[in-house]
């Protein structure tokens, strides 16, 4: 309408015959038209497309990808586990020299540099220190406060007390159940001036310490190496262990692997459920509350520095085994021929479960074992077979119990005559509780040796720290590859904050590990716990997952009725204009050439 009807001055007179093509337009009109098309395109390109882009694009927060990758590869932090061993040698002349030799021996023998023992001679106030140490042994986090100012920084892994042994004896050592003290009795024939004697003692000390911490070292080395395995540059730890690979080491590897596969994933809280499943209607009660209080609670208290535990118990009657679990009757003495007249008498023997049936022993369809807690549940089951199937035995098990990796433990308790009356006393439950305690430690991943519980719990702290560090790092790695692999998922800011918090916690944890502060507030375990929690939170962000399943085709289908009719004239006109320009340019060139 705004366009004036072209009244070309050179239009043919009405009487002349009509031409074959419309008359050429005026240059102003051509220019106006070009400007119109151009302005449309400008609006589309400058306003339309950016608007469309911004309103339909997915928000992706800028993640520190490089840093995440370096943690996932294990390049960001070389975890170190320096263990401090205090040496008390009040009676030994020239202990410094001996310590130097032992330290050398330890350093030489150590093939995994991240985990190393450091000896320190404890001076003065020894007696006082030891006594406080022993008292506070079950609460490892209190150690820092009771020790000297140096101890605030670093916790002591063990105390080696050197004392002369009885005359005529060789070197020997002794561990205590409930303290970190290692009593080492050296042979009275020890002579510090003689180098042979000194070397033999030094060697003995270093071997002893290595033996005590060997399992922990293997576990941590396994954890760190398996976490870093997919990375292109394996840390020196794995190459070190490769050098010394011999037969026994390989067996150890399999053993460690087996142990690792049992361990529950770390959680700050675990729920323990003690269940009594009886195949019949009896027994109807058990003294589980007191048994737990007396036999298990001390252990749970000792472990409270690592994880907390909530406990409940239940009795389930008429709990049948899965239909495919059928015990077999095995007579005790198959050779004995039972006389004809005694055939009716019950033959001595037992019911034995097949080993392959143990995997389906838990009848999860029928047995109510699920908890609604948000943290993992460890189940301990006392199974009481029916009278017809008593005694029921598990093959190759002296304790009649077995452990279900990452799940819990089961013990078959064959009722005695009096316990069939309907009550299971605390005395009857003691063996079960002892086994459950052992199973709990092994499910949590505590090393099976040495004897001393505080040392084992300390080991567990270090091990869990390493595990948390590697799991947080690998979560970051997964998040990294996820964001790389799926460009269409959104990354909200909450993920960015979580990743930031993970990274700072990881850095802190790494620093604390180097300092040797494992447990306690602000220690490596706590930082690692936070790192793992935040990393999981970032990875399992709900809004990220939702976007993945949004089909892109829908968007196109919705916009097509608009984009098609609008886009086609725009593109056609642009093409026409471009062709016109090209033609004109060619004509101009030809004209110029002529």
């Amino acid at each position: 309408m705004s366009e004036p009807k072209p009244k070309a001055p050179d239009s043919p007179p009405p009487d002349s015959p009509p031409p074959d093509s419309p008359p050429p337009d005026t240059p102003e009109n051509e220019r106006t038209r070009a400007l119109v098309v151009l302005s449309f395109w400008t609006v589309v390109l400058l306003l339309g497309l950016p608007l469309w882009w911004f309103t339909t694009s997915i928000y992706r927060a800028p993640l520190p990808l490089e840093e995440m990758q370096s943690w996932a590869n294990g390049r960001a932090c070389r975890a170190e586990f320096p263990l401090l061993v205090d040496v008390e040698a009040p009676t030994l002349p020239d202990p410094e020299n001996l310590l130097k030799t032992v330290q050398h021996a330890l350093d030489d023998a150590n093939d995994f540099s991240a985990h190393h023992l450091r000896l320190r001679l404890a001076y003065g106030k020894d007696d006082e220190r030891i006594s406080t140490t022993i008292q506070s042994d079950l609460q490892p986090e209190r150690k820092g406060e009771t020790g000297g100012p140096e101890d605030e920084e670093e916790s002591v892994a063990a105390i080696l007390r050197l004392a002369p042994g009885t005359s005529g004896s060789t070197h020997s050592y002794q561990l205590h159940n409930s303290s970190r003290v290692i009593d080492l009795y050296y042979s009275p024939s020890y002579n510090p001036s003689s180098s042979a004697s000194s070397t033999s003692l030094a060697l003995f000390i270093s071997n002893t310490l290595q033996e005590i911490f060997r399992e922990e070292q293997q576990m941590i080395s396994h954890l760190l190496s398996s976490a870093a395995a997919p990375s292109p540059s394996p840390p020196p730890a794995s190459s070190g262990s490769n050098n010394s690979s011999n037969g026994s080491n390989k067996i150890n590897k399999a053993e460690i692997q087996r142990k690792m596969s049992r361990i529950m994933r770390y959680s700050p809280t675990y729920h323990l459920t003690f269940s009594m499943f009886t195949a019949s209607g009896s027994p109807t009660s058990w003294e589980v509350e007191q048994s737990i209080e007396d036999y298990l609670q001390p252990l749970l208290d000792a472990l409270s520095g690592i994880s907390n535990f909530t406990v409940d118990s239940q009795i389930q009657f008429y709990a049948s085994l899965s239909p495919n679990v059928v015990p077999v009757w095995v007579p005790t003495n198959p050779e004995v021929v039972v006389p004809e007249d005694q055939q009716q008498q019950p033959q001595p023997g037992k019911w034995v479960l097949k080993k392959e049936d143990l995997s389906s022993f838990i009848n999860s369809a029928e047995w109510p074992l699920v908890s609604i807690t948000s943290y993992p549940t460890i189940n301990f089951i006392v199974y009481i077979p029916s009278k017809e199937q008593t005694p029921l035995a598990i093959p190759e098990s002296a304790t009649n119990a077995f452990l279900l990796p990452q799940w819990g433990g089961v013990m078959v308790l064959n009722p005695t005559e009096e316990s069939h009356t309907g009550h299971i006393s605390k005395k009857d439950l003691k063996p079960a509780m002892d086994i459950f305690a052992a199973q709990l430690l092994s499910l949590l991943g505590a090393p099976s040796r040495p004897l001393s519980l505080p040392i084992r719990i300390d080991s567990l702290t270090r091990q869990r720290s390493a595990e948390l560090l590697t799991s947080a790092s690998s979560s970051l790695g997964s998040l990294y590859s996820l964001t790389k692999a799926l460009p269409s998922i959104s990354i909200p800011t909450s993920v960015l904050t979580s990743v930031g918090s993970t990274l700072s916690s990881l850095t802190n944890a790494c620093r604390e590990l180097k300092k040797g502060r494992f447990g306690g507030p602000g220690g490596a375990l706590e930082e690692g716990r936070n790192a793992a929690y935040q990393a999981e939170k970032a990875f399992f962000e709900k809004s990220m997952v939702g976007q993945v399943y949004f089909p892109e085709e829908h968007k196109v289908a919705v916009y097509l009725p608009l984009l098609g009719p609008v886009g086609v004239p725009l593109i056609m006109n642009a093409l026409k204009w471009i062709f016109g320009m090209v033609k004109e340019w060619k004509a101009n060139r030809r004209g110029a050439a002529v």
Partner: protein, 597 residues
């Protein structure tokens, strides 16, 4: 599945470890050996079954299981899963009801037990500091129960939750101080189809799990074939002086049609009977030949437990111990006085004062009750309920409608004071000014004593109406109000939107006696759009925009040329036309010349 993947390792627990643990524990353990008071009624479990014949060859079977537990974490007969849910959600008292079918009060009299409305009904007293906290815990509770009972309880959200003010009173014992912190929340899902998947977890909570005792009769096929059935779980603290315990009462009530059960037994596939087997009334003149006028209630049909439940009771549940004062009677039967009952051997009968015949189950042996054929049928004494209630929709069209509840007091002497509670979905918007109460026969007294009303908030909460009413003897009260129907958003419609929307049953409680009945649930039809509409809208609006754009763009960009400036399309055609026109012109001219000549 997870189980299958689990590796198995047999732990040979070393004596080393047990020694380590044992010694560390003994130091602490020796001091704390205070014995827990262990008396028997802490762990008591009671179950009983009431069988009652009803008119019209129906049998009411009412199962009741009571389990007592402690408040700590160590459970015996009390189900651990329920205890865990209670502690996680801080619920102090909980009522959960699943119901199916309708209790026919006109035929069957006073309802037995306290059944909920059709579908699922849940109410609980939750301990919390404020309303927001209570809502959060209520969500926890509904989600946990939803998982435990395989029901859609997690759909009880803010729009389906109300806080009744008058209707419900706690049944358990709560101290004054506790009551101040308790929040009562109520929600219902009238549409929930109650079925076997709800019964299975229900049975798992019982100590004998359906393997022994009366629970061995409970089978989904029979239970959900009943004319009316209701399952309920009530958890409450029960105090006896200072000593309190947590009690869970699970009940299953059902009305079985004996004729139908027997027919099912004879032929699992329902088939029409042959004419000889029909009971025809020959006295009717049209009841001859092929026509049959059915004759009902000719006889009380014979039945036994094994026939109507498909199996007998499998012995006694050894854990079932009822109160110490009398021998435990597990199965009781209420039949007309003249009707004989035969029971299995090894069980003995306990006579009650009120004529109820109770039996003690044998240990380890099957138990059955047999009632022989009784013809002519014996009269049943049916006690009328204190109130009859029915509710229906009035009006027509998809814009607005009305609700009318008819409540009848059958008693000739006593007036009834009751509370009428209605929880409406948010898309039903009642007009309170249209609320009318009409008494018939008319009476000067205003039946409406007090009224509580909380209006609708769109998509946030539903309407909550509670009215305290008085109904004079032998009269009928009609309560009615009008409402508007909302139009829902496209995504808010369920997959089968044209079926309609269920409106939860109204709850009628008589506070004086604690008696409660429910009306039936209603089916509300809302204006339902054509569900291809959004795509049509998108395509149409896109087309309009594209049209506008196209015409403007063309106007601006197209060059307009005079028609004769362009080569004529079909120029030859034009010349032919021109020639014809010229010829015609010439002929006309010639004609004109002749005229002039």
């Amino acid at each position: 599945m997870r189980l299958l993947r689990r590796l198995i390792a047999v732990v040979l627990a070393t004596s080393l470890i047990s020694a380590a643990v044992g010694s560390s524990s003994s130091a602490v353990g020796s001091s704390s050996s205070s014995a827990v008071v262990d008396d028997d009624d802490h762990y008591e479990y009671d179950e009983n079954l009431l069988l009652k014949t009803l008119p019209g060859n129906s049998v009411l079977a009412s199962f009741r299981f009571v389990m007592n537990g402690t408040f700590n974490n160590h459970h015996s007969v009390f189900p651990r899963s329920l205890a865990q849910i209670l502690s996680q959600s801080h619920a102090r008292e909980l009522h959960l009801k699943f119901s199916l079918g309708r209790w026919d009060a006109e035929r069957w009299g006073t309802p037995i037990g306290k059944a909920g409305g059709t579908g699922v009904e849940l109410w609980a007293w939750v301990e919390a500091d404020d309303d927001a906290g209570a809502d959060k815990r209520w969500t926890t509770l509904t989600n946990a129960l939803s998982g435990l009972f395989c029901a859609s309880l997690n759909f009880i959200d803010g729009t389906r939750t109300i806080r009744p003010v008058m209707s419900f009173q706690p049944e358990g014992h709560h101290s004054e101080r506790e009551m101040e912190r308790l929040h009562l929340l109520h929600g219902s899902l009238p549409r929930e189809p109650v079925c076997t998947e709800n019964l299975t977890p229900f049975l798992k909570l019982l100590p004998c799990k359906g393997r022994a005792g009366i629970s061995s009769l409970l089978d989904g096929h029979k239970l959900f074939d009943a004319q009316w059935q209701s399952m309920s779980v009530v958890i409450k603290p029960v105090c006896d002086g200072d000593r309190c315990r947590l009690q869970v009462e699970q009940t299953v009530d059902m009305v079985l049609d004996v004729e139908r059960s027997l027919q099912r037994r004879d032929s699992p596939v329902p088939k029409p009977r042959s004419i000889e087997q029909l009971n025809c009334d020959a006295t009717k003149f049209y009841g001859v030949g092929d026509a049959c006028f059915p004759q009902a209630d000719l006889a009380d049909l014979p039945w036994s437990l094994a026939e109507i439940f498909g199996r007998p009771i499998r012995g006694v549940c050894p854990l079932a111990r009822s109160g110490s004062e009398e021998p435990a009677a597990h199965v009781c039967a209420v039949v007309p006085a003249g009707r004989p009952i035969f029971v299995s051997q090894d069980s003995y009968e306990v006579k009650r004062q009120d004529g109820t015949r109770c039996f003690v189950l044998p240990n380890g042996k099957d138990f059955d009750i047999i009632l022989p054929l009784q013809s002519p049928p014996l009269p049943q004494d049916i006690s009328p309920p204190p109130l009859y209630a029915s509710r229906s929709f009035t009006g027509h069209g998809q814009e607005r409608g009305g609700v009318q509840a008819v409540l009848r007091n059958p008693s000739p002497t006593d007036s009834v004071e009751f509370i009428y509670l209605e929880s409406l979905p948010w898309f039903m918007k009642p007009y309170l000014h249209t609320l009318r109460t009409t008494l018939s026969p008319p009476s000067p007294l205003d039946p409406l004593r007090s009224l509580f009303y909380r209006p609708v908030l769109d998509r946030a909460r539903g309407a909550h109406l509670e009215a305290a009413l008085t109904l004079p003897p032998n009269s009928t009260l009609t309560l009615s109000y009008d409402f508007d129907k909302s139009v829902l958003r496209y995504t808010e419609y369920p997959p089968d939107a044209n079926r309609g929307f269920d409106v939860a049953a109204a709850v009628i409680t008589i506070p004086r006696t604690g008696f409660a009945i429910r009306t039936t649930s209603l089916l509300l039809s809302l204006p339902t759009p054509d569900f291809s509409m959004p795509y049509n809208v998108i395509i149409l609006s896109s087309t309009v925009i594209a049209l506008a754009f196209g015409s403007i763009f063309n106007l601006l960009v197209r060059r307009f040329v005079a028609a004769d400036a362009m080569p004529r399309r079909g120029a030859r055609l034009m010349t032919v036309r021109g020639k014809i026109l010229a010829v015609v012109k010439r002929l006309k001219e010639r004609g004109a010349k002749r005229k002039t000549e």
